[in-house]
C-alpha cells in the first residue's frame, strides 16, 4: 500500500490501523510540535479523521507523547523507546543529494536523532542510511536543503 504520509510512532501496520483507529484525535492533541495532523475527507474517506504526519512540513521528533494516550491500540503502547519506532525508512536519492553530487552537505547526518547510527558517513563522507536503525521520523526529509528533497521516508513497517 503506497501512501505519501507517515503514521505517528507506534502505529500498527496500515491495514490494521484503518480499522483500529477510532478517530478520537487524542494523539494530535498530545503532539507538542503539531506534527500530527487530522486527515480530512480530501485525503480519502477511509483516512478521514485519522492521524497523519507529513514529514516535509513537520516531522516527528520522537517525544512519544502520542503513544500512551491512544485508547484503541492503533498506536501500540509497548513502543516506549525511540529505537523501537518504525514509521518508515529513509531513502537517499543519490542523483539529487548535494554530497553525492560533489558539494559538501551533512544536514541529514547532523540532524538525525539517532546520531551516527541511522545515518552514517561512508569513507568519502557521503551520507548512507542504515535501514536497520532508521525509525522513519522524517527529520532528515524536513531539513534536506536540496531543491528536490533528496532524502525521503518511505512509509511502512510497524511500530
Amino acid at each position: 500500500m503506497s501512501r505519501d504520509f507517515l503514521r505517528p510512532p507506534g502505529a500498527v501496520p496500515e491495514e490494521d490501523f484503518i480499522g483500529r483507529c477510532i478517530r478520537c484525535g487524542k494523539c494530535a492533541l498530545a503532539c507538542p510540535y503539531r506534527a500530527i495532523r487530522v486527515a480530512g475527507l480530501l485525503d480519502g474517506l477511509t483516512l478521514m479523521g485519522t492521524p497523519i504526519i507529513r514529514a516535509r512540513l513537520s516531522p516527528c521528533y520522537l517525544c512519544l507523547k502520542c503513544v500512551p494516550v491512544c485508547p484503541s491500540g492503533a498506536l501500540d503502547g509497548r513502543v516506549k523507546k525511540r529505537e523501537q519506532v518504525r514509521m518508515g525508512t529513509a531513502r537517499i536519492k543519490k542523483k539529487d543529494c548535494l554530497t553525492w553530487q560533489g558539494t559538501f552537505c551533512r544536514s541529514c547526518y547532523d540532524h538525525c536523532p539517532l546520531f551516527n547510527e541511522a545515518i552514517t558517513m561512508d569513507s568519502e563522507l557521503r551520507p548512507v542510511v542504515n535501514e536497520k536503525k532508521c525509525v522513519g521520523c522524517g527529520i532528515c526529509e524536513h531539513v534536506c536543503p536540496a531543491e528536490s528533497v533528496a532524502i525521503n521516508v518511505i512509509p511502512g513497517g510497524a511500530g
Binding site: R23, G25, K26, A28, L29, P32, R34, V38, T46, S72
Partner: protein, 264 residues
Amino acid sequence: MRITTIRRTVQFLSLGAMVAVPLLNHRGIAAVSGSFYSLNIGPVLFTDPLIAIQSLLATLRFEAVLLASALIPAGIALVLGRVFCSWVCPQNTLSELFDTLSNRLGLAHFFTLGSTPLIRYAVLAAILAATLLFGFPLASLLSAPGIISVQTARLIYEGTVGLELTLIGIIILTELFLVRRVWCNHLCPVGSMLGLFKCKKTMKVVLSEAENRLCIHCRECAKACQLGLNPIAGQLAPQCHNCGACIDACRKMTGERKPLFFRF
C-alpha cells in the same frame, strides 16, 4: 430553579470545555484531554460505548481497556437516562438552537415522523452490521458530537476544518426544512447506543397519579418538547433524553402540584 437553567449552564460549560481542552493541551496542560469519542479526565478514561463496540466489531479484537472505559458512560445512562444527549452533546445544543430559531421564524417542516423507536434501532443495527462487514469504523464518521469536538480541536491546532462537518450541516438543514429534530430523535447512533443501557430504575419523566397532584391537561408539556413527545400519553421511551423541558413547562402551569417529575 428551572431544570432548563441548570441544563443550559451544563451545555454552555461543555461547549467551553471543547474549546478549552485543545488550548490547554497545547500549553502542556493535559490533565483533561480528548474528544467526545474518548476522553481522559486525569487517569480516568471515558469512551463512548458506541465507539467501544464499534472497535470490537471492526477489529474483532478484545481491547479490555477501551471496552472497560465505556462502562462509566454506560453506567451514567443506566442511572440517569440519556442525559449525555440533552445536557452535554454539542449536536443537541446546536439542534435546539436552530429549532428555537426556526420556530421564531415560523418555518414549516415538510415531513413528520411518529415516535416509533424502530427507526433508531434499525439505523444503529445497520451501522454496526456495516462496521462488522467492512472492518471499518463507520460509526466514528457518524458520531456528531465526536466530529464537532475533533474539528473544534483541529480548527484550534491547524487553523482548518475538515469536510466531516458536512454531516453537521446536512443535519441542521434537514432539521430546519424537512423533519424537525430528526437526528437526535431517530438517527443518531451515539444516542441509540446509550439508550440501550436502561432498566426499570433508570431516571425518567413520569406523570403522577396521586389525587392532589393531578394533571390539568394544559398540554404545555407536549408543546415544550422539541422531540415531539407527549408525556401525558406516556409515549416517551426511548426517544426522551431527560432534558426536563416538559417538567419546567408543567411547573409553570401547575405550580407546587408538580404532576410531572423525574423519577428513578
